[in-house]
Structure formats: structure tokens, C-alpha cells
């Protein structure tokens, strides 16, 4: 599995523009863009899958010492790693900048970030089975639908902040829901991939 994650990271790393975009999203003192950086990270594995599809990597992969579980889990783990990395980057950058620039202070909101991470995890969970089933080309429509939903959620982020402020534990519940959906998603993706590749 380490080899598969290494391949995907190297594939994504070759697109420096993605990292520049994430850096810009994180550095601009805007809550929506800061949160979008985390969601954006969750979508990066799709790039790696697109390259796999184009090169028919699966043909070679099936000859290598990777189990069928490795092939699926590696994509999910990659997404989690990227989301976590951007989350840490956001917290560190915003916390440092908040010491000097007051606009960044409101961005350091761990509860809100927990919600955004959960949303990112749910996006991964919904997106990947469709991508495995339909391929990146057709699976992109699901991604577009989810993006519209994210924008709608993004424009209402203030109300989410209000919900958190009144002491509701929504971030915890949302995280648990995201975790459950991800477990189900991994199982579905495994079955889809097995059926697709083993015949």
C-alpha cells in the first residue's frame, strides 16, 4: 500500500499549481476560502485516479504485490492524509498570522474546522465509489453536484458558527456520521472494484 500512496503522491505533486492554490486559499483571510482549501485537498486523489485510468495502471497494479484491499484503501488513506495535512497547515498558518493580523483570529476556529473536515470526509465517501464505478469522466458529474452543495453550505457557514456557539455538539455528530459513511463507502468501493477488475 505504501507504494500505491507514494505513486499517487508523486502524481499529485507533479501538479505544483494545486499546492499554490491551496497556499493561496490558506493565506487569504477569508473563512470560506480557508475551509475550501481543506475540501479541495479531499478531491486531489481524483487527479491520481484520472492518471491511473489514462495509463491503464490497473493492468500493471494487478501484477504487483498489492492486495485488492490495498488498491482501494490507498485512495481513501491518501485523501485523509491530504485533508489532515491541509488542516494542520491551516491551523499553524492561521495561528501564527493571527498573532500579527487581527483578521486571521476568527479563522482559528477548531469547531468549524472539525465540521469542514467532516464535510470533506463525506465528500470523499460519496465521490470515490462513483469514481470507481463510473470512472473519472462520468464520476465527475457527482463531483460537480457535490461542489454545488459545498458552495451552498459555504455561503451559510455563519449559521453553522452560530449553531456551534450555542453549545450544540454538531461537529462531533457530523464527524461520527462522516466516519460511518466512510466505512460504508470503503466497503462499497471494494465490492465495485472487485467486480470491475476481476472479470
Amino acid at each position: 500500500m505504501k507504494g500505491l500512496i507514494t505513486k499517487d503522491l508523486l502524481t499529485i505533486a507533479s501538479h505544483k499549481m494545486y499546492f499554490i492554490m491551496i497556499a493561496i486559499f490558506v493565506l487569504i483571510p477569508d473563512q470560506f476560502l480557508g475551509n475550501f482549501a481543506i475540501v479541495f485537498a479531499a478531491m486531489l486523489p481524483i487527479t491520481a485516479i484520472a492518471y491511473d485510468e489514462r495509463s491503464k495502471w490497473q493492468e500493471l497494479e494487478s501484477m504487483m504485490p498489492y492486495s485488492n484491499k490495498d488498491k482501494i484503501l490507498s485512495k481513501y488513506l491518501l485523501a485523509y492524509m491530504l485533508v489532515f495535512a491541509v488542516l494542520v497547515l491551516s491551523i499553524v498558518v492561521h495561528s501564527i498570522l493571527a498573532l500579527f493580523i487581527s483578521e486571521y483570529k476568527e479563522l482559528v476556529n477548531v469547531s468549524l474546522m472539525a465540521i469542514v473536515v467532516s464535510v470533506a470526509l463525506i465528500i470523499i465517501a460519496i465521490n470515490l465509489p462513483f469514481i470507481f464505478k463510473l470512472g473519472v469522466e462520468k464520476g465527475r458529474f457527482v463531483f460537480i453536484g457535490l461542489s454545488v452543495l459545498i458552495v451552498m453550505l459555504g455561503t451559510n457557514l455563519n449559521s453553522f458558527s452560530d449553531v456551534i456557539k450555542i453549545g450544540n455538539n454538531v461537529q462531533y455528530y457530523l464527524f461520527i456520521i462522516a466516519a460511518i459513511i466512510n466505512i460504508a463507502s470503503i466497503m462499497i468501493s471494494y465490492k465495485i472494484n472487485y467486480k470491475k477488475c476481476r472479470n
Binding site: K7, T11, W57, S62, P65
Partner: protein
């Protein structure tokens, strides 16, 4: 001991059936798997590597059933080169080294870079900028750099120019200098197989027609050119296949069943395969 043992292997697709394949690949040998496009060579290789589900039969590779959980681990000892390179085009040879280092238990980085240098492959150039020959050399370098005991090559030399093919075949030949190293080489370029193989397995219409020592094949079979009258001198039981031309016949025969007084032509592996394929065996 056999590196690969196949018993009663079956796989059916719409319009194609790989039918009851029984095949042994002896350890230390180079076995050529030959057959026309669509004869079932690639399907057989995928089934050997358990990359697809079989409908029936058993496959043992290096002493392990390929349905055993240990088989994934065993793939560390099997180098595979397919008809295309299949690496994401954005990567380069250095990236491939990092990926394979994290993939294979016995990855030999030094050997990999030796081969990369031997093949004059630019390390930093992206894969999409490689020619087909360069791509195939890179994949061959990978297959030879993780201490594999078994090499499985599926049309690995197709589409390469004769110079590169020769270079690559020499590398494969070097690989079998060690007694326990085995190669299964699938190709429809019969001259390549004739050059390096010890055994030839011929598949036709999803069936294994024969698996024989190459030298024995060339000794056992012969071609006789005859007119209609001379044809009657050839014993019926010795005839495997015949081709009718405008004024004569070309007949593939079992050499030992034909009298020495009848003149026999020099035969190539390609002749044998073409005759047998035509006969539809």
C-alpha cells in the same frame, strides 16, 4: 520442479473460451507462449497472476496456489512485463524507483539504476516523453530489479525495433543464467521465441495445442514439397497438415514417419505454428 503448474484452467468470456489448459513451466527454463492475437495468451497470464477470476482449475506458482493468501506476498518474486508500460505518464524513472522501493520487499535500487544507465534512459524525463522502446526498457528494468525468480513477459517485445528487441532478449537470456530463474515469454513474434526459448507452448482458439522442447519440435517435424503424384508416397499417418498451392503441395509431417528417400525441407518454428493453426487444431 516446475515454476508454474496449471491444471484444468478455464475462463469464459462472451465469444471466447480458454479451455481446460494443462501446462507445466519447468524451473530454470525459458518457455515461449505463442499464438495468434486473441488466442488466450494474455488471459492465461492474468489467470496465472490471479489478476482475474477463473471459472475452474488450479494454478500453482513457485510452489504456492495462486488463490492462497500468501500469493500476494509471492508476487515480490515475480517480475511482470506487459505489452504496454502502464505507468502514469507524469512520472519519471526516479519516481518509479521511489514507488518500487515502497512496493517490493527486495527492491534493488543499485541494480535498477545500473539497468537504467545500461539502457540509456534519462532519469528525469517524464514517462510521456519516452519512446515506446524506452518505456518498455523502463518496465523491464523494474521487473529485473526486485530479485524475481520468475519473469512473466506478455508481448514485451512487440512493437520494438529489431535492435532494441535483440538487446532486450539478451537481458532476458542473462536472467536465466541462474538455475532457479524461469521465464514465461508470450509473443506472436516467433523469431524472438526461436532465438531464446527452451520450450514452446502453442495456444490456438483458447486451447493449448502443444508444449514441447523447441529443439525437439524442429527435429520432429519436417516440410515436404510434393506434387499430386508424390503426395501419395507420403504415409497418411505422418501428415499433420498440408497446404495446396497451384501446382504442388506443402506438407507438414512427422519426420520419423517418412522414409529418408523423400526430400525434406528445412523447417522453422513459424512454419510449424502456421501449419498447425491453419489446420485448426
Amino acid at each position: 520442479m516446475n515454476a508454474i503448474e496449471i491444471r484444468g484452467l478455464n475462463k469464459t468470456y462472451e465469444g471466447f473460451k480458454l479451455d481446460n489448459i494443462n501446462l507445466d513451466i519447468p524451473t530454470g527454463s525459458i518457455v515461449g507462449l505463442v499464438g495468434e492475437n486473441g488466442a488466450g495468451k494474455s488471459t492465461m497470464i492474468k489467470l496465472i497472476m490471479d489478476a482475474i477470476e477463473r471459472d475452474g482449475g488450479n494454478v500453482n506458482v513457485l510452489g504456492i496456489d495462486n488463490k492462497d493468501e500468501l500469493f500476494t506476498e509471492l508476487k515480490n518474486e515475480i517480475g511482470v512485463v506487459l505489452d504496454e508500460a502502464y505507468f502514469p505518464e507524469i512520472l519519471n524513472a526516479k519516481d518509479v524507483n521511489l514507488i518500487m522501493k515502497a512496493t517490493y520487499n527486495n527492491w534493488n535500487q543499485e541494480k535498477y539504476y545500473d539497468l537504467i544507465n545500461k539502457f540509456n534512459l534519462p532519469e528525469a524525463r517524464k514517462f510521456k516523453e519516452y519512446s515506446r522502446g524506452m518505456k518498455m526498457k523502463l518496465v523491464i528494468s523494474v521487473a529485473l530489479s526486485h530479485e524475481a525468480k520468475l519473469l512473466i513477459l506478455d508481448e514485451a517485445t512487440s512493437g520494438l525495433d529489431p535492435m532494441i528487441r535483440d538487446e532486450v532478449l539478451n537481458v532476458f537470456y542473462e536472467f536465466t543464467r541462474e538455475d532457479e530463474h524461469t521465464i514465461l515469454l508470450s509473443s506472436h513474434i516467433v523469431s524472438d521465441l526461436e532465438k531464446i526459448c527452451d520450450y514452446i507452448a502453442f495456444t490456438h482458439n483458447g486451447k493449448l495445442v502443444f508444449m514441447e522442447e523447441k529443439d525437439k519440435l524442429l527435429e520432429d517435424y519436417a516440410i515436404i514439397k510434393a506434387n499430386k503424384e508424390e503426395l501419395t508416397d507420403i504415409p497418411e499417418e505422418s501428415i499433420i497438415s498440408k497446404r495446396e498451392n497451384k501446382y504442388s503441395y506443402e506438407v507438414l509431417v512427422h519426420r520419423d514417419q517418412v522414409s529418408d528417400s523423400i526430400n525434406k525441407e528445412h523447417i522453422t518454428l513459424e512454419d510449424i505454428i502456421l501449419f498447425i493453426a491453419k489446420e485448426g487444431m
